[in-house]
Subunit: 443 residues, 2 copies
């Protein structure tokens, strides 16, 4: 009865194909995923990933804190905990959110397995198949994946340099309602947007809230990067000015470390009860050890000083990237200069397709994420997300140099032969079933 | 705009009530949940919870291992990882499963946030609303909650002292198919069943597999307690004799510690790919630090010797419980003597309702889980689950003594007044919105 399977063979028929739930149609591997198992090779400069650079963390402090945690509270830290999360950590989370003007009670915080799980749980409790989620254009690929997995319809609304455009939001709401569809929430990343790199201006925030209030739709405010601004105090959160209509999501993945998978949702009280039930159904409880580890770190270390160091490190990398782009990229390219976070959004000269160009870029040992990954509707082919968070400044410059070379060759080809064709017939590199590379290449 | 909410008020109207997804109707707080925030007080002997007793773990070994992990591999352990899980841990998981006769490739293992999340992800990829899951009668309350949250129909099949009854399974399948419904899988806990305390006999296992094979339904084999048998070598897993038709779920929560939330699914190759996509959508990746912590523990400690110690400790507690039951409970009660795991299933004399009796038991400072929690169909009212895993033998005896007293009073009342009535009018204790107590009271 032992089976006879060739591991790694992706051509094998899936005998279960008729049994999967309808929602699995929304859970497909990205076309470009295969490429990233190549892009994770050390010789490739990856401007694709969203991994924070945590090399500056004080390993001695964290090591001592965790050793003490085991010795002193091991049987609590290694035991099951509450589905809502460790009370002391939820209090600390309220202190973190206070930096963005949020007054919250720890009772209304639900700890999640990274803020990715918070997106999942919020969607789980609100969205039936066919419900609409309004997302910025572009939007975070991991959230789009969740909305698809719950069979939601995604409607995009435009952004500009000041973030989500109020008039675009109004029109998206009107058009969706006119089509007889139910909008469950607006999903927005107001600060240092992934992937667009822009922030919602303070002037626009009350208007966005007012539009959602009038249309009676919730706001899902996803804010992993809010404390990573380079040149200013943290933006005031949308949640700071609207407590009933906003579900706020936060994370320690970028301000401390992602490996503990500790994020949270702050929700209106009634919604919080549903989120706890959903969390218990999903995992019984989030990892107690992770939560107490984060709590110990926050208690014992100058975490705000650490975030300041992170900000300076990322600002230096941002500078390296935008300088290299200015020095090296063809004049017809456009990009923004982010004032925080991890990402630059770059638009290519007319006629160049970022996804079609990717295999050539990887061959030239540089990787990025094509813009189409951040749209539910096929847009974004002439754009790409470049991240400066993980490689050091020299590698960033080298990556941009390689990218500029690929792009110039592409532009020459196009001038010589007209429209660029894909040597692999649209499939990109051959499919691989290699899941060893970090899943965050696409996040 | 700041709201004016009284925390802890459960009478407040939920203004979001019209917006929730249909699936939230399956995500309701247990009626008896409120009771457990009372039952978690130290003066109450809880025979309700499923928390393992981890006081025997070598905290010095674990503390050193985690300190070293941070010092030596901190920037890996605290970073994002693969959605499928840490490769080295997946190899170790295969060694663990080999103890139950399973030959598996690490490529087919997906690490999950406890095996609870594995139940969630498997249900997510297979079950549309209205699909049927066949469950033993009784079955694990946490799994029933997942199936309800995905709007599945649950069909129970009887067990006896040798576990799931093949003829009952056949009849459940026939009746379900005759009703035109689609069965997605059989959910079974073959070893040291939660809550029933029995194991599927080795003689029955091939027959159960054959029935499912013929009916073309998958088997979801949930096995958290398989290595915790008292008097014998581990049972051979169903998965050991059928690799394509079985998805096997395992956990380190009972053999090491639950606070890291590390479980896994072993699935046929095609299914594993879907599970990884579902995991990435749910959490991006399971906690890297937790996984490397478990891996370090397995590498550096005599984990099999530790499990032997756990087995001896739980056997002593099982003995304490069954001796106390024999000594103290009224003759009309029935219970089984488990040969492993955490639970005794006790059936009360005719006419006594375990759920109605629970408030009186808690008043008498003893708690249990009424049998109805383990059925989707209202059965089980005359039964209860008693767990011996967490309290020490003296507390177990004291808990049984209190329980016997409550039961005797209940039987007297019934003889005097006829049918027992519920002084709270069916609501149990007043509802509370206290989520501080461990969510595992019900698991």
């Amino acid at each position: 009865m032992n089976r006879d399977v060739q591991h790694g063979s992706s051509t094998r028929l899936d005998q279960y194909v008729d049994r999967y739930a309808a929602r699995t149609r929304g859970m497909t591997a990205s076309e470009i995923r295969a490429l990233f198992s190549v892009a994770s090779r050390p010789e490739v400069v990856s401007l694709a990933g969203g991994m924070p650079n945590i090399s500056g963390l004080p390993l001695d402090v964290v090591g001592d804190a965790l050793g003490d945690l085991v010795q002193e509270q091991g049987t609590v830290a290694m035991q099951y905990g509450s589905g809502q999360g460790v009370p002391e950590l939820r209090e600390q989370i309220c202190s973190v959110m206070a930096l963005e003007g949020i007054e919250a009670h720890p009772d209304d915080v639900v700890v999640t397995v990274g803020s990715q799980q918070a997106v999942d749980l919020v969607t789980r409790i609100f969205c039936d198949p066919g419900d609409v989620v309004i997302c910025e254009a572009p939007s975070y690929v991991g959230a789009l994946g969740v909305f698809r997995a719950y069979e939601c319809d995604i409607v995009h609304a435009e952004m500009d340099a000041d973030g989500l455009v109020p008039e675009a939001l109004r029109q998206a709401i009107m058009a969706t309602k006119a089509a007889g569809k139910t909008i469950k929430f607006l999903y927005t990343i107001p600060n240092y947007h992934n992937p667009a790199g822009v922030s919602m201006s303070p002037e626009r925030r009350p208007e966005i809230l007012e539009i959602c209030r009038e249309a009676d739709i919730l706001v899902l405010e996803d804010n992993p990067y809010g404390l990573l601004g380079f040149d200013r105090e943290p933006y005031r959160a949308l949640r700071a000015d609207e407590s009933e209509g906003v579900i706020y999501l936060g994370s320690f993945s970028k301000t401390f470390a992602p490996g503990f998978r500790v994020g949270w949702a702050l929700a209106p009280h009634a919604v919080r009860e549903k989120l706890v039930l959903a969390q218990e159904s999903a995992t019984l409880c989030p990892p107690q050890f992770s939560q107490m580890a984060v709590s110990a770190y926050l208690s014992r270390h100058d975490w705000q000083g650490q975030i300041k160091q992170f900000r300076e490190m990322y600002r230096e990398r941002r500078d390296a990237m935008v300088e290299a782009l200015s020095d090296l990229m063809p004049a017809a390219c456009q990009w923004n200069v982010p004032d925080g976070g991890f990402y630059v959004w770059l638009t290519l000269p007319p006629g160049i397709d970022a996804k079609l160009m990717l295999p050539r870029a990887v061959t030239a040992r540089v990787a990025y994420v094509p813009g189409t990954a951040f749209f539910a509707d096929g847009f974004g082919s002439s754009s790409m997300r470049l991240s400066y968070c993980y490689p050091d400044p020299d590698r960033i410059r080298e990556g941009v140099r390689r990218l500029a070379g690929v792009l110039e060759a592409e532009m020459e080809l196009r001038e010589t032969f007209g429209a660029v064709t894909d040597p692999t017939g649209g499939r990109g590199l051959p499919a691989r079933s290699d899941y060893e590379s970090p899943s965050t290449d696409l996040t």
